[in-house]
Symmetry: C2
Subunit: 341 residues, 2 copies
């Protein structure tokens, strides 16, 4: 009997060893297959190893493994126009239908005209009027349903695909690689928090509660039957750009990230804040230098920059000075999109 027990124990050990080996084999496959070998890929792998290896002097406990990602231009295409701006413009006819008087009022008149040149020249003030009219005044559930319906049919004009398919495959791999190593991944976007939350889980595997973005207030009230609901209000609670990014991270997460990814001046302070504390800290900037496969804009390109959020020469200089790693789309990424096989 004793012999039998020993044998049984031996079997169990073998089974456990097989499990361990299988896990190791899995871990040794390349977690970033869409990246070319180079300093950017190496920086990511080194960061993960040094913060998750038990005996490493830069080991970070699981609870503190926070990584933040800008969205527009960092996780998906934002050029030449942000998807959410397209959403707001596309919603204008429905808003005017509900309030016909607006048809004769600017900036709604210009949007309805369809004159692209004039629309592109709308001032920030005009855009804010469109934002208020299209993003507020409805219940949060109505808003979510409207965004979902739009995402199901809207197409990027260049790729003729839904916006949610235009995420960068190499960044999707970074998100997964970090999560597989115990990191909580957050989106920290200048875009609308409620907008991004509608698709973040399906598109990036990031649940709504891990999306920090520019946020409007809501108002609690009751419908006729006494049922409570929240209405989206034209009151800006958090402008999640520039200094608003570290401020938003403190408000919504309450911990400093160990890794942050951005692509524009709007991400500058988040990258500074992430890099400024002790231990291994990874700050990375996506440089759009691939005119053929995506777009080229920014310091070295001499090409038009996006209206909001620019990769300027001074940002590039700060990256060099502060030890942030610049990701060249052209050189570091084997492929850009998952549909490019």
């Amino acid at each position: 009997m004793k012999h039998f027990q020993a044998f049984q124990f031996h079997r169990v050990l073998l089974f456990a060893a097989a499990l361990v080996l299988a896990t190791q084999a899995h871990a040794e496959t390349d977690p970033l297959p869409s990246w070319n070998d180079g300093p950017a890929k190496q920086a990511i792998v080194d960061f993960v190893k040094s913060t998750t290896t038990k005996d490493s002097p830069q080991f970070v406990p699981t609870a503190e493994r926070i990584a933040t990602f800008d969205q527009d231009g960092t996780l998906w295409v934002s050029h030449p126009i942000y998807a959410q701006v397209m959403y707001c413009l596309d919603r204008v006819p429905a808003v005017v239908k509900a309030k016909p008087k607006l048809a004769k009022v600017e900036p709604f008149k210009t949007v309805l005209s369809g004159n692209r040149e004039k629309i592109a020249k709308l001032s920030m003030d005009s855009l804010l009027k469109i934002v208020a009219a299209t993003l507020t005044g409805m219940s949060v559930e109505e808003f979510q349903a409207e965004v979902k319906a739009w995402l199901a049919t809207a197409m990027d004009p260049r790729w003729k695909r839904p916006y949610t398919e235009l995420t960068y495959q190499p960044m999707q791999e970074v998100l997964k690689y970090l999560r597989d190593n115990g990191y909580k991944t957050y989106i920290v976007t200048g875009g609308g928090q409620d907008f991004v939350r509608v698709y973040s889980e399906e598109t990036y595997g990031i649940p709504p509660e891990q999306v920090v973005g520019s946020a409007l207030g809501t108002k609690y009230a009751y419908d006729k039957s006494g049922k409570p609901f929240l209405t989206k209000e034209p009151k800006l609670l958090l402008n999640d750009n520039n200094a608003g990014k570290p401020e938003g991270i403190h408000l919504m997460i309450g911990r400093r990230p160990h890794a942050a990814f951005g692509n524009s001046t709007g991400d500058r302070q988040m990258l500074e804040y992430t890099k400024a504390d002790d231990g291994a800290r990874l700050s990375m900037l996506v440089l759009h230098d691939d005119a053929k496969r995506e777009y080229a804009y920014g310091p070295a390109q001499g090409l038009p920059t996006t209206k909001v959020g620019t990769f300027t020469q001074s940002l590039y200089d700060e990256a060099q000075k502060q030890g942030w790693t610049v990701i060249s789309m052209k050189n570091d990424w084997k492929r850009i999109f998952s549909f490019e096989q």
Copy 2:
């Protein structure tokens, strides 16, 4: 060889079966040992079973399992005075030491006098001045260090124990029971978000990013060496009381909870909001009716209520009408604190 493989496979199966049995045995021990049998305990167990059993018509996917808990009076003792108010009062001497002129200015003069009767009568306006002076003007790291130092020495006058030991053991069990069943547990407190985040992980197993509370703004700036930091500002971003609770939940979590726990009128809207959607929804109210083991205040008691956040008769009536379950500390809880063995 074939026979050996079959035998090996058989061993593996046995091992797996043993694991499953061990798990089941564990699951069948009472997850709420500090609760007496009764409608409150039953409501919690029924809720968890109906939302986590695969074939249940009320099954909730793991990602949507959100439970929110008020803190003061729901998770720990808040009577006769909130711990955070004690913190602010205790910090006044240090604030006056740094700015000696304040010694002659109200309300600081009254606080320094130590006259308890007068301090208890300070107006909300005076308290806000004390809050601004003691909770703002320092970096977020300095504030965290100050709160930590205070918690290590401050004692509740009745139990002569640190405030963090005065959590309700039955509620700690509910937190753990829900987490063991895939729920994300959040604190949604009218108290200061930054204050509660200092001890939430150690005290309740709730990480900072799952604490929603009344929140002041921060301001991003650089020190002399160019290092960025955040300063706490006297600007209220979120008043997380009453309607502010569902509004804060939408801002910080973006999903409606399936379960919510409170104890006062400040929690009314959170409980309404939680209960108002489809599927299994649990709204519970802790009634302080145990004058001997803790305190008795509220509708049936005819005893003094706490200054902020009251369990009124109208709240009690709404609980009956809306199907919220009232937890009687006296009848439902076998013991109140973990140190009562």
